[in-house]
């Protein structure tokens, strides 16, 4: 009995000695870290290196404005830190010289690349965001028109923190499907691919009523890992159709005379890319299935829906096809395989791919693409046909 007690006591003593001697290296209280919500990467004025902007939260301000209601408009709940340096990592660490607290990256919501920064060698410059376990692959990647750092100075209306509002904006892309959401994982996957061109949404500052607001519009297209060009909203949705990432949105289809139109709401959509090799030449068949409702129409005499279902569906398919073709045209113009056709061929025809791989750029340029759209009409809304004058 005595000996067993002794051993137990010794064990406990050892355990606690290890603990107390070891101390607590990693312990950091919440009030000793500054939580980074957004990071911007820019090319500095004088050329070399990188200019990093980190948006950190001021927790005290969040609390204060909660208490005072909406009055605290003067003080911001965020603080933007800027620093220039050669390597990204050293620059990030260097923030300690400016802030009294250590920067804490795991809650980083957005990674904004400045337009000029994105021009070349993106892969190497963002290496740290993959390597460091503090960062996550779920960070949204965006490209800014102009300097990335300016984005963070725009004070959002609904949220307290700019980066958080951008992140919510990206989340809400689904409402229109006219801008794409890309996280670091997707971005990297595309960079690593032999053929697929990386894309990222564009964000820019717009003036509205004397106030600066942020607008997400268009898609930045990268070639290898440098910025190559841009897709506009229409082309972006074309891209989204092909990728099968359209979640919802509105399709406007105009009937030529008198500005009459019907607006369709997209309910669900899916796509299938099926590559084929015909006579040694690759071609791609894209099938897009869409289902939607009638959301709005402004025909003077009303719309006889019952008889027009087929016609309306045709109209809708036309619009979708138009968008896809526009995107395809732009992609060929930029010679960037944003749709991932190359990967599809790779997966289905691994042997032939080995030959195609090296001159994919030229193959892509005259790749035969067939687009098939099946648009369906589900509901016609709460009202039946309105007949004028009755």
């Amino acid at each position: 009995m005595g000996s067993s007690f002794k051993t137990i006591l010794k064990q406990i003593a050892c355990f606690f000695l290890i603990l107390t001697l070891s101390g607590c290296w990693n312990s950091r209280e919440l009030n000793t870290i500054s939580i980074v919500m957004g990071t911007g990467l820019d090319k500095p004025e004088d050329g070399e290196g990188v200019l990093i902007t980190a948006q950190v939260v001021k927790p005290g301000e969040i609390k204060a404005s909660e208490k005072e209601g909406t009055t605290g408009t003067d003080s911001n709940a965020y603080w933007n830190l800027e620093r220039e340096g050669m390597s990204t990592f050293a620059t990030v660490r260097g923030f300690t010289h400016q802030a009294s607290r250590r920067l804490f990256f795991p809650h980083n919501q957005v990674l904004i690349l400045g337009e000029d920064f994105a021009e070349e060698n993106v892969r190497k410059k963002i290496d740290i965001f993959v390597r460091d376990p503090e960062n996550r692959l779920t960070v949204w990647v965006l490209v800014s028109k102009g300097k990335a750092k300016d984005i963070f100075y725009v004070k959002p209306e609904l949220e307290k923190i700019t980066a958080l509002s951008i992140s919510n904006m990206v989340d809400a892309y689904a409402a229109t499907s006219q801008s794409i959401s890309v996280n670091l994982k997707d971005f990297l996957t595309r960079i690593m691919s032999d053929s697929t061109a990386p894309v990222a949404p564009f964000i820019k500052i717009a003036e509205k009523g004397g106030k600066e607001v942020l607008v997400m519009e268009g898609t930045a297209v990268f070639k290898k890992d440098g910025l190559a060009g841009e897709l506009d909203s229409k082309e972006t949705r074309g891209l989204m159709w092909v990728l099968g990432r359209v979640k919802s949105g509105i399709i406007e289809s105009h009937f030529s005379e008198g500005g009459e139109y019907v607006a369709f709401e997209i309910v669900r959509a899916s796509s299938k890319i099926s590559p084929e090799i015909k006579n040694g030449k690759p071609c791609v068949k894209i099938t897009i299935n869409e289902e939607g409702n009638v959301g709005e129409e402004n025909f003077r005499d009303g719309l006889d829906l019952a008889s027009m279902v087929k016609e309306l569906e045709g109209k809708k398919s036309e619009v979708i096809k138009g968008e896809v073709m526009a995107a395809l045209k732009k992609a060929k113009e930029l010679n960037a395989d944003i749709f991932g056709f190359g990967e599809k061929i790779h997966k289905s025809y691994p042997k032939q791919w080995a030959k195609l791989k090296d001159n994919w750029d030229t193959v892509f340029n005259d790749l035969e693409v067939e687009v098939l759209v099946n648009a369906k009409l589900l509901l016609t809304g709460e009202i039946k046909t309105i007949e004028q004058g009755k």
Binding site: S27, L30, N31, I62
Partner: protein
């Protein structure tokens, strides 16, 4: 210093082991009665001393012989009605049957023809006589015979059978044990009307001479278990047994573990259920708590009401109980680990709110949590010990001062108060483990403060291994989780319908005998 303490403690723990040989009472030569009543009286008086409550009543038997008799009893322990009506009356004014003091048969005559009391024993050992007298029996000495009669006449004041205070139920029997052993055994007998229910009494405690009763069901409890219980109880050589806790600490398997390996209850239905599963119960005179062995860890999560209400809700409540236990030991530690080590685990919006609440609080999180947990223990203890009306005042002051002012003064963050409050409430869900919980909570909090989640994990690993290595009277303590057994799972996180629980817990009843008919599932009569 440390070594010194170690040595001391080691010494103390060896004491218990050797005491059997070293400190054993000198066997007193058997003191026996003689035939002369005056000598006997003298001897008795010598032993019993001069306490005023000891009554020695001399009388003369009815009849010609004028044989002298003597009643010895303790005034406050006996039922006066029995003494007056059933003992003295027939002896003095009943049919004269004692003629001569030399008659060897006198004792038997008195016992079988005169006394109208149920329990009468013949005895000639002085020790026994004194012990009976001290436990409320009446001793009758008859001149000329070397045998005394011990007449059961226990009476005096006893708390009645009341509703249980510590284990209240909504549905189920309300009665609980009282201090009187005889009342308690009677409650048990009334539950189990079976001749196999065996009650073995033994006396423990040199000075208190406390009556302890091992109760079990003869063909259910393993004979080795009963033998082991007897052995451990007999090995107790101490001067006082005042409560079941004394016995518990003398017989438990793992005296240094923070987990109890002997279970206790004050409800007869609980004890009955446990001995019906093949356990042995140890009932102790003068305490309403009875012990049962072997104990399993999950027993503390089983409430008698689980079996009285229907299985769905019972199972749900079981899961809630396990969850509450985990919350009660882990919540402060997890909170500290999250806020000081793994901030990345907290959802962003929550983190911002928490960071805002944390702003400006002066202490490190671990210290803050430690202060709050200790404060809670202080408040709890104060609430229990103080008289009820004052206790309420304490809880109001505690809630106001700690909860409200500390937060508004910026000493402690509001989330911490919430966490400790949840911990406090959950710790009461499993009342039997709440004392273990308090200790575990503080240990885990320390570990979390040093190494975050890894520290907690290490603590839990040690805890699980420890639990798995414990045994209680031969039964693996952590069963049916480790070692696992499928049939035991029916009564762990879920409580299967009674008609499905065919066998007793296999770690206790190793023979795995059925306790009910195989197809006990209720079924409505089939339509023809």
């Amino acid at each position: 210093m440390f070594r010194y303490i170690l040595r001391k403690v080691a010494f103390l723990s060896t004491c218990g082991k050797n005491s059997n040989e070293k400190y054993k009472y000198k066997e007193v030569e058997e003191n026996r009665l003689c035939t002369d009543i005056d000598q006997n009286l003298e001897a008795l008086k010598n032993i019993l001393g001069s306490s005023n409550d000891i009554i020695t009543r001399e009388f003369v038997f009815a009849g010609e012989g004028r044989v002298k008799g003597l009643l010895v009893f303790i005034e406050d322990l006996v039922d006066n009605k029995i003494i007056n009506e059933s003992i003295i009356k027939p002896l003095i004014s009943g049919t004269p049957l004692i003629y001569k003091k030399e008659n060897a048969d006198n004792v038997n005559v008195v016992k079988s023809e005169m006394l109208s009391v149920g329990d009468v024993k013949q005895e000639n050992s002085m020790d026994e006589i004194v012990y009976s007298c001290l436990s409320g029996d009446t001793v009758l000495l008859i001149d000329g015979s070397a045998e005394a009669l011990i007449i059961a006449s226990q009476g005096g004041e006893n708390r009645g059978v009341e509703e249980s205070k510590t284990e209240s139920v909504v549905r189920g029997p309300r009665e609980s044990f009282s201090e009187d052993l005889r009342t308690n055994t009677s409650l048990l007998r009334r539950k189990i009307k079976n001749p196999d229910l065996t009650l073995e009494k033994m006396k423990i405690g040199r000075r208190t001479g406390t009556m302890v009763c091992i109760s079990y069901i003869k063909n259910l409890a393993a004979p080795e278990l009963i033998e082991e219980v007897r052995r451990r109880l007999k090995a107790i050589d101490t001067d006082a047994i005042l409560e079941s806790g004394y016995i518990e600490q003398f017989i438990e398997d793992a005296p240094f573990s923070i987990f109890p390996t002997v279970s206790h209850s004050e409800k007869p239905d609980v004890i009955a259920a446990k001995i019906l599963e093949g356990r042995a119960a140890i009932m102790i005179d003068r305490t309403p708590f009875a012990l049962t062995v072997p104990m399993l860890f999950i027993e503390d999560f089983q409430s008698p009401e689980d079996y009285y209400s229907r299985p769905y809700f019972s199972s749900f409540i079981r899961i809630i109980r396990f969850l509450s236990f985990l919350i009660s030991i882990l919540a402060p530690a997890t909170y500290v680990a999250l806020t000081t080590f793994h901030q990345e685990l907290i959802p962003t919006n929550l983190l911002l709110t928490m960071a805002a609440a944390r702003e400006g609080t002066p202490f490190p999180s671990v210290l803050e949590a430690g202060i709050m947990v200790i404060t809670f223990e202080i408040l709890k203890e104060a609430g229990i010990r103080l008289p009820r009306p004052v206790g309420q005042a304490i809880s109001i002051v505690g809630a106001l001062v700690v909860g409200e002012s500390a937060v508004s003064a910026g000493l402690i963050g509001a989330p911490m108060v919430i966490v400790v409050a949840i911990t406090a409430v959950s710790s009461f869900v499993v009342p039997f483990q709440s004392d273990t919980g308090s200790i575990l909570r503080i240990i885990l909090l320390g570990l979390a403060g040093f190494m975050g989640a890894v520290g907690i994990m290490m603590g839990l690993l040690v805890l699980i291994v420890h639990l798995a290595s414990l045994r209680s009277f031969g039964a693996p303590y952590f069963s049916p989780l480790a070692p696992h057994n499928a049939s035991g799972m029916k009564d762990t996180a879920i409580r299967a319908p009674i008609w499905l629980m065919d066998t007793r817990p296999s770690s206790i009843d190793r023979d795995k005998r059925r306790r009910q008919a195989a197809h006990s599932k209720p079924e409505p009569p089939k339509k023809q």
